[in-house]
Symmetry: C2
Subunit: 384 residues, 2 copies
């Protein structure tokens, strides 16, 4: 196939709008100026509705999302303290690794890949580990394309009086988050997904309780000292360390685009793209890894028996110019993940699914050519 | 004055060439692809001559330069261990704060602001503190615009068999660095100075001895685990955590420009700009904060008695569109720092000095109008 144009459907990095790319291509300015301060203030403010908070504080970091996860842990927990973490995929596992690295005792609540944790499991874990100070979980587990029920988990953590730390890297800006209502204490996200930016910014929103915990906390921290950052960002309208200036300008621009579109429409767009992709999988006779609790930002489709998922993903990229992602760790070779976050239209799912169909056939799967794109089209027709 | 065009002469962020801004405005790609791998490999390779190493390993981080400083410390030193740090300014002081934060015992070698540390001081400090495992110092102390003699310090650390950890944030790419020859074990820099990029990338080059130290090191670290990063970057041609993809593309481009210009010419350009600025200060009857050991990347000029340096800097920015930086901490209001790193030509010093002259007069200083720019011009004439 004579392909030159490239498409990005990975679950991060996700496509960035040209307006944002151009905004970031503006001449760089110093980060201790009124112009930068105004941009930082605006970006922090515009982030709040995406987290679903009016009372929380948003802090920007020059780091990837993993830096944000580390920051949440080392500011809220101390060596020797206990926490429950939900391990239902690669990023849940990362909570456990982070806790272990910094000397906290992590109690794992294991969840089969693709499943959602049940709130009762959290309750049981907290009952069995009464010293646990926090529950750590993904709102959307990118490796399995599954969502966890944060609202219901929040009910449990509220009742038991423990902190709730949530990785929202593929949920914030993708579907509605209610930090204040759910009682989330630290909510982490990154720039390269629904925020429609290149990677390089981590964001953490903190509740009042989280700020209190950080004040008491003695874990050694410097670059990721969130109290120092908050003081700089809230009180001095700049950053403690040199800001990733271009990304902050880009963030403010992408948030302008998001609020112009309006959040309900942004969320509806993700929902349509997700449903169209799921229905395409069904029409092709394929199963989802997370059929009962699929993520709105990324869809994980199990490849048919006998097809090498890794080869299929490489074929899509190299021969068709369409970047999607395979499975990680135990799902390597068995899963294709199609992202639908960032600067994408529902129509783009025709391309993602079209390329997927062609790649399946080329890699020895027997699928009815056209059934996938027809299913996408049918879903789009219902949202007109 | 009818000013609209803006000029950036801060000692970081420094101006970014349009070619690099446009390179970074390219559509984002995934960080686990052959294209990204080739770019990362090339950028890491192209960095080596700037550090002056053929044997060292270059590691990129999604962080500011401070993140790089933290990474060097927590990978090479452990709680309870001792180190000598040179405090001759705000960034030397930061070494001390970092050591203290992570439980190391830092022995301060205090140097008056603007002065260079003498190698004998390092030798004495190591004699008095025989348990010290490392010496930490700035190659160029951005807050005082002074350089420290790294080659001579390296002689001392070699003789005494301790590690040498150097902050090269305003030296790498500005003037010649000889990591291997000097025996530097960890050499830190950031993207937003001579590398002609926006902030957001930290870079650390490590010697073989540093890698050995990191392998033995038990300091808790995750985001800034340099061994994990090196394994990813050297062996797997990608990053451990999501890379700041656009900045890595920008870095590879700016290094192409730097090597096209050739390093000797880049260094000569910085030298001419620095000397022109110093001679302008002299012609205006002003003194430098670091007259004996001035930095090639940024010149610190003491403002005359009775002039408020902070007001002067704001006037330059707001009324003249020319961004320079004032003094920090004890030099607040007393110092003007004119940066000459990044995408700048010697001719640009006519503008920096011209604006500085006008601002001096407007703020009550009696300086001979035109004497500064004439001195710049005279220096340029000598380099034709």
């Amino acid at each position: 196939m004579p392909v030159t144009k490239q498409y990005l459907f990975t679950p991060g990095p996700a496509p960035v709008p040209p307006e944002v790319l151009l905004e970031m291509a503006r001449p760089v300015i110093h980060h201790r100026t009124p112009e930068f301060s105004a941009t930082l203030d605006s970006a922090r403010d515009r982030m709040k509705p995406l987290f679903g908070t009016t009372r929380g504080e948003v802090i920007l970091l020059a780091s990837s999302g993993t830096g944000g996860m580390e920051a949440a842990i080392i500011n809220l927990l101390q060596a020797g303290e206990e926490a429950i973490f939900v391990n239902g995929g690669k990023f849940g596992e990362r909570w456990g690794k982070l806790l272990g690295t910094f000397g906290m005792q992590g109690h794992e609540t294991k969840v089969e890949w693709g499943r959602a944790v049940r709130p009762e499991q959290i309750d049981d874990a907290l009952k069995s580990n009464p010293k646990a100070r926090a529950v750590l979980v993904q709102a959307s587990e990118t490796s399995t394309c599954a969502v966890h029920p944060i609202a219901a988990i929040g009910e449990v953590t509220k009742r038991r009086g423990v902190m709730l730390i949530v990785d929202g890297i593929t949920s914030v800006g993708v579907f509605e988050q209610k930090m204040d209502e759910w009682g989330v204490d630290a909510f982490v996200t990154g720039s390269q997904k629904a925020l429609m930016l290149p990677p390089g910014l981590g964001l953490v929103a903190l509740s009042e309780r989280a700020l209190d915990a950080a004040k008491q906390n003695r874990t050694p921290r410097f670059y990721f000292d969130l109290l120092k950052e908050l003081k700089a960002q809230r009180d001095e309208h700049t950053t403690a360390w040199t800001a990733a200036v271009s990304l902050v300008f880009g963030l403010n621009k992408s948030l302008e685009l998001i609020h112009d579109e309006t959040l309900p429409r942004v969320y509806a767009r993700h929902q349509v793209m997700a449903e169209a992709t799921r229905e395409a999988a069904k029409a092709l006779g394929l199963r989802l890894l997370a059929p009962d609790n699929p993520a709105p930002g990324v869809t994980g489709i199990l490849v048919p028996e006998g097809v090498d998922g890794g080869k299929l993903v490489r074929f899509m990229r190299d021969a068709l110019g369409v970047a999607v992602q395979g499975g990680q760790d135990q799902m390597k070779g068995k899963l294709v993940r199609i992202g639908h976050m960032g600067h994408l239209s529902p129509f783009d799912m025709l391309i993602a699914v079209g390329a997927f169909e062609l790649a399946l056939t080329q890699n020895g799967a027997k699928v009815p050519t056209g059934a996938g794109v027809a299913a996408v089209q049918a879903r789009l027709a219902r949202s007109i």
